[in-house]
Every structure is written in structure tokens, then in C-alpha cells.
Symmetry: C2
Subunit: 321 residues, 2 copies
């Protein structure tokens, strides 16, 4: 069974993992731990736990349990002191308190949800993402980075604070992988935060695994406007140190004009400007709304990757190895 490692955090991971779950592969998800918005941010502040949100999404994506259990994990309380919290976040936070360890909590939640594969936090230190912009402004926390519309004007640095220890299991996964998948996902909020943990970039350079980059569908307004696939590669390369990718998966499907219009406020479509044997171009768009998850973020993204189409392209590569 081929070992496939997916690196990211959030919605992008969800699409890749939930598509690949149906195939005969040994799946691992390495998850960024910089999230501090929404329910996750409140739990970090009030309970002092590690951020559960992105891990929850990966667990649900890999879960083999009933549809009900998966809905339960994404269920958000609406009122009172619980308002805004997703149940899965509370499960992970309570498990962290009861077991005394976030990693044990993730493991136990994985058992409750009968997950296929593993979910591995890239670090288990409590880190915050920080970004210093060219105009001297400092963005404190992933939430501020996520909301910023000034990043495209230039930034000086992006880093995690305090400087974290890497989770050694993440390094092992990368070194033992047959295939590593990076993306899709927020460039500054989901992908790069993984690369900022010491040891990850080196492992990505050193591993014998085939590396696949999946390009985003939409550029984020104020952050990566008019970025082409080459621009994403260039940014990622700054952190990994070289162009490691054996395959680049890009979308060639065209969303309906109304959707593009509706998205104008969020950002423009990512276009591919590269050619060559490593480019895998296919229609990867989700056609309907029928499978929208009950998570805020996913509900918003109507131009989305179709997990099945994505998995088909990925499995063609995996099976060719």
C-alpha cells in the first residue's frame, strides 16, 4: 500500500483527504498548528489548549463513521456561552484536558471517529503566526494574517512565535512517504506555517517521495492577487529552498460566469502559466452544492475542488509509481 502524506490545514486538506479516503492508500495528514480564529481562538485563549479546528477537519475527512458522527463533529452551537463552538473542537479540547496531551487527544478522537489514516500536528508547541509587512505593520496571529488585504504590497518576514520544536512523527512521515501532497490551501495561513517549523523543509528536500503541488482555484484578494501557478511555486520555494515538485495539479475547468462574479470580492481565478510534463491539468471543479459541509469556511467556498475528481488525478500518479 502506497504511503501518501498530505500537508496543509483547513479546507484544502479536507478536499484532498476526503477524496483519497476511498482509495487503498496509507494516508497521513500533517496539520499546521497556527490557527487562532473563531471557535479555535476562543478555546486557545480561554482554556489554554492547542488549536483543534484544522485537526478536526482532517479527522472528519478521514472518518469512516456514520454521516451523523461527521455532522456532529462539525455541528456549531448557536447560542449562549457555547455560541460559535463546533462540537468537534470541544471534543478535542476536553480530550486534551483529560489525557494531558494534544497528541493523545487527536489519537483518541481518531478512534472515536474510526478514522482511516493518521492526523499529525506539525508541532505540539503553542505557536502564533506573525507577519511583518513592508509598511512595518505587524500582523499578530493567523486570524489577522487571514484577514489582511495588505500582504500583496509586500512583507518582510513571516514566522512562528515562540520558535517551535517539530513533531518528530511529522518528519518520519515525510521521510517514509511514497507521495507527498502540498495544497490546496491558504498560502500564508495553511501551507507556509507548516514550512516554518524547523526540519520540515529539509525533510521535504531530502525525502525520496514524489511531491505533488495542488494549485488553489482562487487567488485571495489583497494577498495573492493575479497570482499564477508559477507565483505560488516561487513563494513556496522561498521556504523549502528549492523547487521540489514532481507534479503540479492545476484546474482547467471553467466555473459559471455568475460564480466568478459572486467571487469578485474574494479574489480572482488562479491561471496556470506553466507547461511541461509535470503539469497535470484537469477539470477539478465541484459542480454542485449538495455536499457542502456544515463548517463555516467550507460553506463559503462555492468554487471548490471536487474531492472525487482531485482523488482520481492523484491516484493516477500514485498508481504510476
Amino acid at each position: 500500500m502506497k504511503k501518501v502524506v498530505v500537508i496543509g490545514g483547513g479546507t484544502g486538506n479536507f478536499a484532498v483527504l476526503s477524496g483519497l479516503r476511498n482509495y487503498h492508500v496509507d494516508l497521513s495528514a500533517i496539520v499546521s498548528m497556527a490557527d487562532d480564529g473563531g471557535s479555535t481562538g476562543v478555546l486557545r485563549d480561554e482554556l489554554g489548549v492547542l488549536p483543534p479546528g484544522d485537526v478536526r477537519q482532517c479527522l472528519v475527512a478521514l472518518s469512516d463513521s456514520s454521516r451523523l458522527m461527521r455532522s456532529l463533529m462539525n455541528y456549531r452551537f448557536e447560542n449562549g456561552g457555547l455560541g460559535g463552538h463546533s462540537f468537534g473542537n470541544l471534543l478535542l479540547s476536553a480530550l486534551e484536558k483529560v489525557t494531558g496531551s494534544f497528541e493523545k487527544a487527536v489519537e483518541e478522537a481518531g478512534r472515536i471517529l474510526s478514522i482511516k489514516g493518521k492526523v499529525i500536528p506539525v508541532t505540539t508547541n503553542p505557536v502564533r503566526l506573525k507577519m511583518v509587512l513592508s509598511n512595518q505593520k505587524i500582523l499578530e496571529g493567523e486570524k489577522e494574517v487571514h484577514l489582511s488585504e495588505e500582504i500583496h504590497k509586500g512583507y518582510k518576514s513571516i514566522f512562528l512565535e515562540p520558535f517551535p520544536d517539530v513533531n518528530k512523527r511529522a518528519i518520519d512521515e515525510i521521510m517514509n512517504a511514497d507521495v507527498i501532497i502540498l495544497g490546496p490551501g491558504g498560502l500564508y495561513t495553511s501551507l507556509i506555517p507548516n514550512l516554518l517549523v524547523e526540519g520540515i523543509s529539509k525533510a521535504l528536500r531530502d525525502t525520496q517521495a514524489k511531491k505533488i503541488y495542488i494549485a488553489n482555484l482562487i487567488n485571495k484578494r489583497g494577498q495573492t492577487p493575479l497570482f499564477k501557478v508559477s507565483d505560488y511555486l516561487r513563494e513556496i520555494q522561498r521556504y523549502i529552498g528549492k523547487d521540489i515538485f514532481d507534479f503540479l495539479i492545476v484546474n482547467e475547468g471553467k466555473p459559471p460566469q455568475e460564480l466568478i462574479k459572486a467571487y469578485a470580492l474574494e479574489g480572482d481565478l488562479v491561471h496556470n502559466n506553466l507547461t511541461g510534463a509535470r503539469i497535470v491539468s484537469a477539470d477539478l471543479l465541484s459542480s454542485g452544492l449538495k455536499e457542502i459541509q456544515k463548517s463555516d469556511r467550507l460553506q463559503r467556498n462555492l468554487i471548490r475542488h471536487d474531492p472525487q475528481k482531485l482523488a482520481q488525478e492523484l491516484m493516477k500518479i500514485v498508481n504510476s509509481l
Copy 2:
């Protein structure tokens, strides 16, 4: 396999169920639905759900899952908007929201916790317990009844509002039981609220099952001061309509003098003033604190029934049938 039905709510049920779980019997717990204090009260008010607290305790008592899962269910968040909520209560409330039904929520939680037996809410209507005292004062809600120290001066009536429909499954359980166990538990807050649901008392009079009453260890200050076993029976008989009990299980163990002193503020020891073949008298006291549950209520009760001793006496009766 003998069918044993336990009627009550709260801590008393917990002791009986967790003791009987280890024996080869078909167990059901019928649970009062009048709780409105603490975490349960906040969830009722803020989310409009049915009261999860007593059901949670029964589920944990019947759970065959790991110690960790049981600790998780009783884990209470300490800070912020979640402060005071036990995780199990949140699980039941989220499941009620996701499934649209409290009964389905209880069933699903039972599956997650691998329970042995069934937990059945006596009604699935949102009811409040009310009590009109002889001095005209009205106690609104189980919490006010629980805290009152005037009940011993006399009360005019106790009722549920709005008048609830009985859960037909509770009637079926009673009619098909081999053994029915009432108590131990708060007389006005756990036992009688079950008897106030139409149909329960009639079923208890009509069923062919052997009925066992387990006397409390401690009289509740301001509610049942100096009550003897006969006083409890008399009060219960007012609601059932006749003395139905084939067996009365009473404690003959003596708690250490320091504990009795420490309890002086809570209430006095219950003494047995009855004789006859139906009296089963045994040392039923828990000897240590080692198995104290992480639930507020249980932690307070240091003079408690030992689940194993209780189960041994109960099983002698069950096996003699």
C-alpha cells in the same frame, strides 16, 4: 436473562447501574427529566434542549468503554463561556440538535459509549418540576426544590408543568420487567418526578415484576429530616397509590463518627423501623473515596452506597426468582 428496570435519576441511579452492569442481566434505566440545575439548567435555557445531566450519569454507569471515555463524559470545562459544562452534557445536547430528537441523541450517545442496556427518558416533553408549599410559597424548578429547606414543614402539591406525555417505551419496560428497582435518590427531585408522569404509577401497580425499594442513606436536611424507611414508603405510596414493594433494601453499616459529624449540615442518617421477610438488611456503605466520580454531586457524597455491595444484594433477589 432477567430484565431489570431501574427508576430514578442522578447519583442514586449511578450506584445501582454501575454495580449491576457487571452481572448478566438485561438492564434499563428510566430517568426523570425534571433536572434544571447547573450545566443542565444553562443548556436548557440557552439551547432549548432537554436536560442531559441525569441521562449522562446513567450512560456513564452503563458504559463498557474505556476509563478515559468515562472520564471524558464527566469532564467539566473550567473557564470562559464553557465553564461548568460537563462534556457529556454537551455531547447529548449537540446530538439532540443534529438528530432533532432527544431520544435519538440518547441512543447515539449509548452507541458511542458502548453501553450495556438502555437509558429511557420518562418523558420527552420539556417539563419543569413545581412544588407548592403549605406556606403558599411556590418552588419553581427542580433546582429550587433541591435547595429548599422548608419542605419538611409541609407541602400542598408537587407536579410537572406542562403536564407531560409519558414515553411509551418506559411503560413497556415496566410491564415487561422481571425486577423493578426504585431508589436510592432524592425523594422529591429524582424519585417522585418519575411518578408524576401519567401512566408510570399505574404501570407500577399493574406489572408482574418484583419491586425493590432501596432506602437512602442520608435524610436531606429541611426536606426529610428524621425520616425512617416507613416515612419514605408512605410518601412514595401517595403517588403510586399502594405499597407495591416486595423487597426493601436497607443499610445496616455504620459510617465512622467523623463522617456523620461532617454530614450534620447535610442531614441525618436514615434508620430502618420496619421488620418482616421483605426487609433485606446489609452493610451497603462504600468504604473509601477511591472511586469517587468526577461529577460535582458524587464528589460531595462521602457517605455513599457501594455499587458492588448493592449489586450483590440485588442479584441475590434476581437469582432467587
